[in-house]
Amino acid sequence: MHSAPRLAFRHIGKRFPGVRALDDVGFSVRAGSVHGLLGENGAGKSTMMKILGGEYVPDDGEVAIDGQAVAFRGAADAIAAGVAVIHQELQYVPELSVMENLLLGRLPTRLGLVDRRRALAFVRDRLDALGVDLDPRAKLKQLSIGQRQMVEIVKAILRDATILALDEPTSSLSHRETEVLFRLVRDLRAQGKAMIYISHRLDEIFALCDAATIFRDGRKVADFDTLQGVSRETLVQRMVGRDIGDIWGYRPREHGPVRLSVQGVTSRAVPLPASFQVRAGEIVGFFGLVGAGRSELMRAVYGADRRLSGEVSVDGKAVRPTHIRDAIRLGLVFCPEDRKEDGIIGVRSVSENINISARRNHLVAGLFVNDRVEARTADTYIERLRIRTPNRRQEIRLLSGGNQQKAVLSRWLAEKNLRVLIVDEPTRGIDVGAKNEIYAVLYELAARGVAVVMISSELPEVLGVSDRVIAMSRGRIVAQFARGEASEERVLAAALPEGAAPSARQVTP
């Protein structure tokens, strides 16, 4: 088939403050084909999909449909042009029925009232034609996630979409639901739709896709016109393959006795018991795909989520399961993943955000906040971590992400008794310069004997900074690697969920 591509991205560039999300990226998708899009978290896939869906306007380059450049100024433009992007987070109204969700905004009416009978007949007809087994009267909240996904796809088809993009559609589907989805995708291909399919599961890519493009760090690193004869290893290598230069600034350290011991911890979000230990002076990186359960495990360790079973101890002293202040008193602290939601107190000053915890240690007469000491503490960390702020009284929400992160780190550095630091995605959305400064802080703490746990979805970062790497997949710890043994291929293979890579199958039977 040598038709002109239905969809083409040409030299797309997109920048965000401090981050180059996409840099001169282009690829094209033929009508009647499924095009795989691969890459690590943060490689730029989702940004590309948001450009396709009209949510972002690219800084450079253009999107072309049937050879004609199009300029989407909003999601409505994309829909009108026959583009449907189905994101991981689905958009539906849970209280409304399948029929109403499908026809939302264009329900047929009679005498000003919704003509339910005609609408139901129409929807039933279309669902039958597509071979989708759904009750049009069922409310969306009664359906499984897979069925809701199906509704979303049918909605796109009813809008006469000719270009469909599916962003990790199977991440929460059962095996059977996945098969139904596959059949639907193949039917749509046969009808001549152009489709983009994003997945971490290489098996799915091989099973469904005719062609594939690999992104890394906002650039295109490989294009495959066909996946015939392409090996799994080739794809993995292209996804991660890159020299880790010395941008990490890692130097080996002596490790002391075990500081943090986690034994059989479970919580509502961590159903399977998890155990690990971290030594004084050691930096342990936790790698896994989004949803692997790393943050949930650490929240249970810290006491942010109620621990249902298991023991956590710091230097042999047990940490009580629901008392965050207990953990802090024993020197176990946690920098959460979502800075804005869980980390900073936006309308309060930089100084307040730094001093909120440690201030209890230097009260005047056991009662009054010591403004002088707090000012000195804030100024010290502003200077030491190079927090870019006009002064300590600035509201922290006005700072950039990297500087907010440094302030949250300072909050815990100010704890004299700091023994265990858990940081969750400490460099997400932060520019390279600030990243290096944050690594330097982690090294310095480790050199002082602090046990450091770093969660990160950036594999190079995990490998570059950690003394030891622990891989998690589907809520459990599946593998551990010493620094010398940890390669990108091995860690990624371990972290990919069941069915994605051959070696992963052994650990998750």
């Binding site: 946690f334 869980d342 900073i344 000053s349 307040e352 201030r359 209890r360 009260l363």
Partner: protein
């Protein structure tokens, strides 16, 4: 907390002239409320007869003393991003309960203490339900507002409960150094809660919770405990206001304090306390209370019909919130 906001936005050229201009705007921003109050006060003093006299000033302060003391605790409540509608009912119930207990025991002290304990209990229930059972503060305090008002009517059989003991009236009418006792108590509240807000972990944590409850919890703030304390103290102070009101009226009245909660919240909002939590100053609350009292006082002196006072009060509140919004929007850019 927020000075240098204007100079801070990015790395705009730092010429001395622009910086001075920014500082000036900052001053106007920070002290706008006080400036408005001073202007209002001067204009009223010059134009309204009898306004600027010692007797009138003392009367003005007395008239806002109940609102003033409860505004202190309401400030904490709003600063932590919560809400309390039950204070008006607590005022009424505390007055009635104080009168009943004082009559029954013959002791004013026991009556007052019983009323304070009852008020604290109402606050404790509010706080525990909101913090532990995680029921929205608006709903919770709307419910306790009804319940406590009901208790006031039930315990008094719907009648005003007179107090026979003369000593009780001293609480509301005795004068010390030219100002009546309620005014002194209110001044004491301003000082106490000002220090609590700015100088103690309790106050700072209150603001942190209002700013971001999840982040505060993860930073080690005992969020539930602080929330309960805020409501408990609020109930206690509302009961104190109720006892003083009963003393001034020489009886506990079950229908006292209707709409009181809204006046208190208005005074706080007028004083720049953010309903979104995290922002509050005691100076703002004081000025808010004074503006409310001054406007009412001046309208009375000018013989403006009481019916119009509602309209004026509402209008002032609306304008104040609008000004606050505009200020925030300018910062957000």
């Amino acid at each position: 907390m927020t000075d240098t906001r204007a100079t801070a936005l990015g790395t705009t050229p730092d010429s001395p002239a622009s910086r001075r201009r920014a500082m000036l705007w900052q001053m106007v921003d920070d002290y706008s409320l006080i400036l408005i109050f001073v202007a209002l006060f001067v204009v009223l003093s010059a134009t309204v007869q009898y306004f600027f006299s010692w007797d009138n000033m003392a009367g003005l302060l007395l008239s806002v003393s109940q609102i003033g003391m409860v505004a202190c605790t309401m400030m904490f409540c709003l600063a932590s991003r919560d809400f309390d509608l039950s204070v008006g009912s607590t005022v009424a119930f505390a007055g009635v309960f104080c009168a009943i207990v004082a009559n029954a025991t013959g002791s004013v002290v026991v009556g007052v203490l019983a009323a304070l304990v009852a008020g604290a209990l109402v606050g404790l229930v509010n706080g525990a339900v909101i913090a532990k059972l995680r029921i929205n503060a608006l709903i919770t305090t709307l419910a306790t507002m009804e319940i406590v008002r009901g208790l006031a009517f039930i315990s008094s059989h719907g009648q005003a409960v007179g107090v026979s003991n003369e000593a009780f009236f001293a609480l509301g009418s005795a004068s010390v150094a030219g100002l009546s006792v309620p005014v002194w108590i209110t001044l004491g509240c301003f000082a106490l809660f000002g220090v609590l807000l700015n100088k103690t972990i309790y106050g700072r944590n209150t603001l942190a919770i209002g700013g971001n409850p999840d982040a505060a919890r993860l930073a080690g703030v005992a969020v539930d405990r602080v929330r309960i304390a805020i409501f408990l103290i609020q109930g206690l102070v509302a009961a104190l206001a109720g006892v003083i009101l009963a003393s001034r009226m020489t009886s506990g009245q079950p229908n006292a304090g209707q709409g009181f909660e809204l006046n208190v919240i208005s005074a706080c909002v007028l004083g720049g306390v953010s309903l979104m939590g995290g922002r509050a100053t005691i100076s703002g609350v004081i000025v808010g209370v004074l503006i409310m009292g001054t406007v009412q006082n001046a309208m009375s002196l000018m013989n403006i019909d009481a019916f119009y006072q509602y309209v004026v009060r509402g209008t002032i509140l609306l304008i104040a919130v609008l000004v606050d919004q505009l200020k925030n929007r300018r910062q957000a850019r």
